[in-house]
């Protein structure tokens, strides 16, 4: 027992150290790089907490796509003027430090004061699992017990895309987001852009398919597909899509719209909003997951590309 606890302890200490460096690094670029490695370490911690679904999501979205986004921003924004005030100094800094330590101690005492026999919904979730036809309880919670949260979450992604697009300037509207790749990308990047994406699509679809019984699901699969799409654009093989494209808009809202449609159909077919007809719920869930995966991949890709920047360039 002590050996595995020793591993957990060292993993936790390492994760906290890397997070500390991400917060305290001198330059912002170093802080972003440290944040990405922190995200990967955190995925390991999630595996140790026997939450493999969450580990996949943390590695894919938490450190993968977020990391790509932050590195792009760090490169564009840079460190800022050397003489500019970097951070709060003196008394304010000390006061904030004390406040944050007090917050941490408060949360720690709250956590330690929790009842010995932890209240849990696991028995209830396991008991109703057969009726959803799914093997993976997390997917059952996401798409059946608490389906409204997942529906609203996929709608939140669409809100974010609309929000990001409205930050463009008026003359750039209708144009294409700036391509992550340079105009004449290097040879090795193009090679990677041709080799890896087919494998990425295979892994993404597999992730969604096994999500019903094993760890995986629409969000993890969608992220891998989005990563493949971003790589293709970074390798200069494809130009980013124009935001006025009807197909792009339909693909972006297709997943949430289908989910909403099935939910409303639930009134008639299964006597409740977002309920699935008896015995067919697995089929409905898989159809929804497939559509969601495609829309999530498009949404994550568009969010990583950012606001449209170039109007009408060939």
């Amino acid at each position: 027992m002590t050996l595995s606890f020793g591993f957990d302890l060292s993993l936790a200490v390492l994760t906290l150290a890397v997070a500390g460096y991400a917060i305290g690094a001198r330059e912002s670029f170093a802080s972003v790089v440290a944040f990405i490695s922190y995200g990967v370490l955190l995925a390991l911690v999630w595996v140790r907490l026997s939450a493999v679904d969450v580990a996949l999501t943390e590695a894919a979205i938490g450190s993968g796509v977020t990391g790509a986004l932050l590195i792009g921003a760090a490169a564009k924004v840079g460190e800022g003027a050397v003489d500019a005030p970097r951070s709060v100094r003196g008394a304010g800094r000390l006061l904030t430090a004390l406040f944050c330590i007090a917050t941490t101690l408060g949360i720690a005492t709250a956590f330690l004061s929790l009842p010995e026999k932890a209240p849990t919904l696991a028995p209830l979730a396991a008991e109703h699992l057969p009726s959803t036809g799914l093997g993976n309880p997390v997917t059952a919670v996401l798409l059946s017990y608490r389906a409204i949260d997942t529906l609203l979450e996929s709608v939140v992604l669409v809100f974010a895309v609309v929000g990001v697009w409205t930050f463009a300037s008026d003359r750039d509207w209708g144009g294409r987001p700036e391509s992550p790749g340079k105009d004449r990308p290097e040879q090795p990047l193009t090679f990677l852009g041709q080799i890896l994406p087919p494998l990425g699509i295979l892994v993404g679809v597999h992730l969604v398919w096994t999500g019903a019984t094993e760890p995986g699901g629409a969000f993890q699969g969608g992220t891998v597909l989005a990563a493949a799409w971003i790589l293709v654009m970074a390798a200069g093989l494809r130009k980013p899509p124009s935001i006025e494209g009807a197909w792009l808009r339909f693909a972006l809202i297709g997943g949430p719209a289908l989910f909403l449609g099935v939910g409303v159909a639930g009134f008639a077919l299964a006597k409740a909003f977002l309920a699935y007809p008896e015995g067919h719920s697995k089929a409905f869930i898989l159809v929804i997951e497939a559509a969601l995966t495609f829309s999530i991949a498009i949404a994550l890709g568009l969010l990583a590309l950012g606001a449209p920047g170039r109007k009408g360039h060939p």
Partner: protein, 97 residues
């Protein structure tokens, strides 16, 4: 028999860790980007290769072993491309006066 397999695993994994350790030290000690890059790619390919080799007998079934080798292959692909790109940028930086 299992003893021999476990010994083999421990040996390989330790070898892999050794390469990772040397790679990390080299990263801190070497003066410029190109030499650091050289050290890192060694650590990455050899270190990871040995660890994967060591874990192969421990996997239950052929599919798990194939997945491990796939992971190693993707790591090589990524590592090779990245080091090429970084080396290009380093070369351009060095060539500037």
């Amino acid at each position: 028999m299992t003893l021999a397999i476990d010994a083999f695993t421990i040996l390989c994994v330790c070898g892999g860790l050794f390469f990772f350790l040397t790679g990390a030290i080299a990263l801190l000690r070497f003066p410029d980007t190109l030499t650091r890059l050289h050290a890192l790619t060694k650590a990455d390919s050899l270190g990871l290769g040995l660890i994967v080799l060591g874990l192969l007998p421990q996997c239950d079934g052929f599919l798990a072993a194939a997945k491990l080798i796939l992971i190693w292959a993707i790591a090589q692909l990524g590592g090779a491309t990245l080091s090429q790109l970084i080396a290009r940028i380093a070369a351009i930086e060095n060539s500037k006066p």
